[in-house]
């Protein structure tokens, strides 16, 4: 019973990580990765390592998505042009 939180958090981590692998579009993958980061932070906290959880939250909640999405934008061409050419930019 005491490990319920650890089991729950682990399940969430496994589900989110699998979903991140199965998601093919990088922009959508960034969203799943953010969820994976949140699940990992809960797992770390449940395992009594708040320092690691804080690192995960600091890096995973805004910084990594920003870098990923900027890279996606660069690879697909500049936002306004890509937006006009295709629906999804």
């Amino acid at each position: 019973m005491a490990d319920l939180l650890v089991v729950l958090a682990l399940t969430l981590v496994v589900a989110a990580a699998t979903a991140a692998v199965l998601t093919r579009d990088p922009a959508r993958q960034a969203l799943v990765l953010a969820l994976l980061g949140l699940a990992l932070a809960v797992l770390f906290t449940a395992l009594q390592s708040p320092d690691v959880a804080l690192s995960q939250l600091a890096v995973g909640s805004a910084l990594t998505p920003l870098m990923l999405l900027l890279t996606v934008r660069k690879v697909r061409g500049r936002g306004h042009r890509g937006g006009r050419k295709r629906g999804r930019a």
Binding site: L5, L8, T45, L57, A58, L69, L70, R88, A89
Partner: protein
Amino acid sequence: MNGWLLAAAVVLALGVAPALWGATTGPLRRRVVAQNVAALLVCLVMLLLAQGYARPSYIDLGLVLAVLGPAGTLVYARLLAAELAADPPTARVTRAMTVLSAAAPPLVVLPLCVATGPGRSLVKLLLIGALLTAGNTISGRAVSGTTSLPREAHDG
């Protein structure tokens, strides 16, 4: 396992797990909304865990997530704006999200405040609740408001 930890487990199972499902399937609008909701709920889980493990210093996790969670959602709202504008969340979803952002933090923070008792940590809890409510309301608005926004009103 005390009541606080049980509450955290309930929020994880009934809140974060469906949010994960929402963020991995369906159209982009649903995924971004689910991410916003997940950040809100995990912040509340952190507060509950801090109380459940009787570790006041764990509160800082909730504090950090209360400011960075909305910032994360704003990143998506900004960089996926074209796609979100083409297919924004429905008004019903937006309203539900606003209600959740306003209602969920007090539901968790107020019992925590009662358990904490008067003092500086009480003020800190209230502050986290306020930051969380304001931040998530705004980020929810940014996700849904990309088209409903009048094009002239850009100078606040």
